[in-house]
């Protein structure tokens, strides 16, 4: 369904990803683990077309993505919840969601998608007329996820879901994601390794721009090296 091969990505003249490869099956939840600066967000930028890779392939549903513009990639069915949420603060909650359905694939079902998001995160329904800038961090994350879902993506990328959120809110958001079932494929970037492994089936480990390991999440959680390096025990 989704495959990356041998990807080299630069930011300006600095190389940030070296020969990255990964593969995701339909309906799967895959975590990308790695410390700050490892290149996880750059990988998300390369997938969504914000950064143009210098070498390598990104294949999604048998289509090559390298060279396409972000708006074309969204139209093909990939949606990103970006690091830092990036909701449109000057627009209302409802308008933010509408922007998520801007692409052709999302627009015809805008009304029912909004109802679906309000069902997933009821607080957004209550605040639909409010400016997005007045929401709490957790609510903004819900809005960012809701906005991404509005384009009816096949593949959902979430960058740093739990960053800066209270554990209770994080739990609520993960529960909502779990309720989506396997109709949607998810790539989850998390610095909180324990959370990531608990909410994914497989995981890739990225260090200094390279994939240094991957495996089944339940096994990685028990791996002594992983526990030492990322879980601090």
């Amino acid at each position: 369904m989704f495959k990356i091969e041998n990807l080299d990505v630069f930011r300006g003249e600095t190389q940030v990803l070296w020969g990255v490869g990964l593969e995701v099956a339909p309906g799967e939840r895959v975590a990308i683990l790695g410390s700050n600066g490892a290149g996880k967000s750059s990988l998300m930028a390369a997938i969504t077309g914000l950064l143009r890779p210098r070498r390598g392939n990104i294949i999604f549903n048998d289509r090559a993505l390298v060279g396409l513009k972000p708006y074309q990639i969204t139209q093909l069915g990939i949606a990103l919840v970006p690091e830092g949420r990036r909701v449109y603060k000057g627009m209302s909650v409802r308008e933010n969601l509408e922007m998520g359905a801007f692409v052709r694939r999302g627009r015809p079902r805008l009304k029912e998608s909004i109802e679906r998001v309000f069902g997933l995160f009821p607080i957004l329904g209550q605040r639909s007329a409010q400016g997005a800038g007045t929401l709490s961090g957790g609510e903004q994350q819900m809005l960012a996820i809701g906005r991404a879902l509005m384009s009816l993506p096949d593949l959902l990328l979430i960058d740093e879901l739990s960053l800066g959120l209270a554990p209770r809110v994080t739990k609520e958001i993960y529960a909502a994601l779990a309720s989506l079932g396997s109709e949607i494929t998810v790539i989850l970037v998390e610095q909180n390794v324990e959370l990531a492994l608990r909410h994914s089936e497989r995981a890739y480990i990225v260090e200094s721009g390279r994939v240094t390991g991957h495996g089944v999440s339940t096994e990685l959680i028990d791996d002594p090296d992983i526990r030492r390096a990322y879980l601090g025990m």
Partner: protein, 285 residues
């Protein structure tokens, strides 16, 4: 006297606001300062003169055609001159500056140095609040300006295109991720920015005739309105335009006409001293 100056100020202020909205739009979406903005205003004035006076088309139809042509010209300018400079704001600055000089020379060549004035839409005068008689053409200009500004804000609020503009002005990358073709949005925004200048031009030209170089102060005033209102704030630049228009006319009535631009910069300096982000400024550094 006071009421008359205030009314004059409102008429001019609305037109300033309209011009400034175009600048604000182009700055907000493209981060481009169009130095030829005033020349698009003047060009529309000439067009409506040409169509209505020389060709005898109905003044209102002439205005619409003029604005439409300037919109198309804006598209061409964006496509040929601005698009190649993406990523380097300095080049677009220089290019539009050269463009403004080229326009001024062409105006001089084609229309000569004399003021040209399209015909008025209506004649006569109306007694306002029982205080003074005021030219119907100026009242009509005020009404037309209000209508165009209201339409613009309704467009921003109610249409997909308006939502695209607001989203992209806030976070261009995110807007692109949401499926907006920002290259095409740039094209349309630039055209629309020029069309707003053109609308201001055709509305005011029957009152203040156009000359080849009259665009420079128009653009200057628009830039000041945008800074006054706060970069990135559309409602701020409307307020900025009204404030400038009123202060300028009060100054002209009670102090001296010669100090018009001095008043403008005094206000600008005062606002920037006490509210560095502008009246409605919200964009953090």
């Amino acid at each position: 006297m006071l009421a008359l100056s205030l009314t004059n100020g409102l008429v001019i202020g609305i037109v300033y606001a309209l011009t400034a909205l175009g600048v604000s739009l182009v700055v907000g979406i493209m981060n481009v300062v169009n130095f030829a903005h005033g020349e698009f205003y003047i060009l529309a004035g000439y067009f409506s003169y040409l169509f209505a006076h020389t060709l005898g088309i109905h003044p209102l139809a002439a205005m619409v055609i003029a604005v439409g042509l300037v919109f198309l010209l804006g598209l061409v300018v964006e496509y040929t001159l601005i698009r190649p400079t993406y990523g380097d704001d300095m080049y677009s600055l220089i290019l539009t500056f050269i463009l403004s000089i080229v326009f001024q020379s062409l105006f001089l060549l084609v229309f000569g140095p004399y003021p040209n004035k399209p015909p008025s839409w209506i004649k006569g005068a109306t007694e306002v609040f029982g205080l003074f008689h005021y030219g119907n053409q100026r009242l009509a200009a005020l009404a037309a300006g209000v209508v165009v500004i209201a339409l613009f804000f309704a467009m921003l609020k109610l249409t997909w295109f308006g939502r695209m503009i607001r989203a992209a002005a806030q976070d261009r990358e995110m807007a692109e991720l949401n499926g907006i073709n920002t290259t095409r949005l740039n094209l349309l925004s630039f055209g629309l920015g020029c069309a707003l200048a053109a609308a201001a031009g055709v509305i005011l030209a029957p009152v203040f005739p156009v000359t080849p170089t009259a665009g420079t102060p128009v653009a200057l005033t628009a830039f000041v309105c945008v800074v006054l209102g706060g970069m990135g704030s559309m409602s701020g630049c409307v307020l900025g335009g009204l404030v400038l228009g009123v202060v300028e006319n009060l100054g002209a009535a009670y102090v001296s006409t010669g100090y018009k631009h001095v008043f403008m910069f005094l206000i600008l300096i005062l606002v920037l001293l006490f509210r560095p982000a502008g009246l409605f400024g919200r964009r953090e550094v």
